[in-house]
Symmetry: C6
Subunit: 77 residues, 6 copies
């Protein structure tokens, strides 16, 4: 696993924080299932499954919560 894929939790603004939450969610799947071929297969599976898609968005929501807290909600922006 790469040494420097995520050097900091700080993000300049909400938009980039949100993108980071998405990135986290992808990494969580990637680190759990490192084989790219299997991931591609699984992705094509859940593309057709509303239930899994919603579960993915729940993970993004959880990561987003972590990121915004780490940035103190960008209170000064």
């Amino acid at each position: 696993m790469a040494n420097t894929w995520l050097p900091t939790l700080k993000n300049p603004d909400l938009q980039s924080g949100y993108d980071r939450a998405i990135m986290f969610s992808r990494m969580e799947v990637k680190l759990t299932r490192p084989d790219a071929e299997i991931r591609r297969k699984l992705r094509s599976d859940y593309e057709k499954d509303a239930s899994v898609l919603i579960d993915v968005s729940a993970v993004v929501a959880a990561n987003f919560h972590t990121v915004v807290a780490a940035n103190k909600y960008w209170s000064n922006t």
Copy 2:
């Protein structure tokens, strides 16, 4: 993905904060599954599935929690 879809977490009141939580939940699905046609298909699927619908509302609840914390619960309103 659009650069400016979400410039701030601040909302003037609870109602608009709630609407923002809904919007987050939609974006989370949209960014995960960018193809509009597939989303439309999935939406018509889970329209008939109580279980997925409840899962959607769980994601909204999670995002709502993030938004209200960011706005410090509108303590001064």
Copy 3:
């Protein structure tokens, strides 16, 4: 969607805060699936499904957490 369905997160006591959490959970479903007829149908479905019922109570628990935090746990009552 009505403009004033939820003007504040403040509740005088725990009981009313709890009722508000229930109300949130209903709104989350309502805003996600605005057609009353479909909701009625889905409700009669999950009335028979323990799994979905528990998921509903999980959403209520999440919203309840948000409400009690917003009211600082009614520490002074």
Copy 4:
């Protein structure tokens, strides 16, 4: 719904706080599905279903978190 089923979040100690979390979880189901006969039926269903049982314990865990935070973790006990 009874007016006074839950007058306060304060509990003298961890044990009673935990029991309260259990009580919350039951109320969440009860308020969602008020018919006692249906609840009895659903309960006998999930008695045999490990998946639903784990989901119930997740709801208890969420409510427990709320209760212990409200009691500031009983830091002084």
Copy 5:
């Protein structure tokens, strides 16, 4: 239900805090389903079910979060 199964949330270190989170998770199942025979049966069921096993670990993660917060992350250790 025993009167004194959990007298405090304080744990001397992370390891014992983690064990406590595991213990919570077991109690949540035990209090929900008091019959030992049924629990044994359910356990042998989900032993073969990856999905339920992951759900169990989610409950442990939630309880662990509660325990570490109660111990202020053992910041002084």
Copy 6:
């Protein structure tokens, strides 16, 4: 269960904190299901199941949240 598998929640940086969250998630499964043979079997099952994989990433997200909070978001890095 080993006495010293996790001596501290402190991590020098985000990357190692993230790895720790992954490690927590594995331990949660391991302590719940200690038999290595059964775990290997279950793992090969969910390798093919997108739904379980997403659930695993949700557990990682929850543990990650705990770790970053314990490290106060590495605010000084």
